[in-house]
């Protein structure tokens, strides 16, 4: 892998193109270009008019996201039994590079089960002001209990409000973010 930049073999193996230098500024050519080239530039910009706007009216109209988009986390329950999927194993907390997940597990009491497993998460908190939305928690969870949702509007006035508790993460978000189809 050692290579001498000046060696013939390197120079033989590459194809070099010299970029053009363009005209010399100033002088008569400069006076012409101040008008001519500016008009040509204007033609380029005007031709873009037919392409239509690329922007959207953001707060009224939301940017749709792709299915893989990683937004605010969601915790899940089993649809049939209503029990929480999370068993408090703390794998997500171990995987988190930003150390922003806190899980305290407790034993399920028979007759008053919270989760489907032996244990459940008594405390489950994600500090979203530290989270880097890497999605490692989602990858780490072996029970699909936590997934990355699609909501990206999470700004708040107080940092304390950015610590999301289990109840907040289990609840369905009020406003859904529009989704792009895979092919769009």
């Amino acid at each position: 892998m050692s290579f001498d930049p000046k060696s013939a073999s390197y120079l033989d193996s590459i194809e070099v193109v010299e970029v053009q230098r363009g005209p010399k500024p100033g002088g008569v050519g400069g006076a012409y270009r101040a008008f001519g080239e500016t008009l040509r530039g204007l033609k380029t910009t005007m031709a873009r008019l037919i392409e239509g706007p690329m922007t959207i009216e953001y707060p009224e109209e939301k940017t749709p996201v792709y299915p893989r988009f990683r937004g605010r986390h969601k915790l899940h329950k089993f649809e049939d039994t209503g029990l929480e999927k999370c068993v408090g194993c703390s794998l997500c907390a171990a995987a988190c590079p930003a150390d922003c997940i806190r899980v305290v597990a407790a034993e399920n009491i028979p007759g008053d089960r919270v989760s489907a497993g032996e244990r459940y998460a008594a405390v489950y908190e994600i500090n979203l002001s530290r989270c880097i939305f890497c999605g490692y928690c989602e990858i780490a969870c072996p029970f699909d209990a936590i997934t990355m949702g699609h909501d990206y509007e999470m700004a708040d006035y107080d940092r304390r409000d950015l610590i999301f508790t289990k109840e907040m993460l289990l609840a369905e978000p009020v406003e859904r973010t529009p989704l792009k189809s895979e092919g769009e």
């Binding site: 290579f3 590459i14 005209p23 270009r33 996201v65």
Partner: protein, 403 residues
Amino acid sequence: MTEQIAVPFEQAPDRDTEIMTVNVGPHHPATHGVLRLVVDLEGELVREVRPVIGYVHTGIEKSCEDKSYWKVIPFVERMDYVSYFFQMEAFCGAVERLIDLEIPPRAKYLRTIFLELNRIHSHLVWLGTTALDLGAISMLWYCFRERDKILDLFEMATGQRMHTRYFQVGGVIEDIPVGFEAKCRKFAEEMPIRVGQYEDLLDRNEVFLQRTKGTGVVSRERLLELGVTGPLLRAAGDPWDLRKAFDYLVYPELDFKIPVGTVGDNYDRYRVRVAEMVESASIVRQCLDALPEGPYIADDRKYVLPPRSELSTSMESLIHHFKLVTEGYRVAPGEVYYSIEGPRGELGCFVLADGSAKPARVHFRDPSFVNLQSFRDMAVDGYVADMIASLGMLDPILGGVDR
């Protein structure tokens, strides 16, 4: 150098002018980040410039020593926040060399596609902001329009527009989704047309010519002395490109040219980078044509997470999964330096392993940091307006400089 615009101290028109020291930045839009320049001015002429760095020092390299190998990936991405795929490739490539892990062909092609898209993205950010410094405001909108398309592609495949953690040791974390190929190909075919539009606006524009031609000239020998790489060196006429010089990913199989300049002034730097965007678009097209089927990540349970579908069926996979997530894998003692051609030059990653599951040292050779050393040579004895143009054309990313 006949084309150079510089007024040496002895020839200054008005020798009575006092030297005045001015601070540019750290919070100044023309410094492209948080860079402070202490400039000694004699009238309009720059006599000395001292870049002061460290305002966005984040200690990422140190934090990496405290994280298992797979958790380092989202960290190193955040150094140079415009070329995140390059940082991931440098780190993952270095670790793969340490543990001697071969990545499957499809992963190599996918990585190359994303690296080249990222190179276009990085050059677009450079072109938009630098042209904005020189007064061409529509360039910013144009460049960011195309940049948004690239970010859309990133979001579609990886789930995030920036800082995607898509590359993992062993390959890429998931396969590209349905429809990505078509969308990416459409973009790669459209990109040269868009570049043509930028050129229509800038190439012969009189203001742009006046601002860039003959300004910020540094000779190739001086750049080599300073260790400058990337488009800056190529603009001075040295066709040094690690994609050709070293054998990594699928670059040896691809057919692309290396644009070089002749004079080494700001105009050449502009032309070289714009030509590189076209070459990168062509690389993306070639990779899409040749994209092989097959696995996208190595099948080595020691280092790579088992597929999700196996978790509910195989106890062995579940144990591997637990172990990799909680402790990570151990890497035998050793060290490696792996360098690739980033959008700003040689981006190298040094990893020292001490046998534990965490790297003992991660160090990045960031091209922005090294290239910034040549800034004094560009700016001294020129006009202060040309200094701003030179800084833009230097394209430093301060997140990478300070790390």
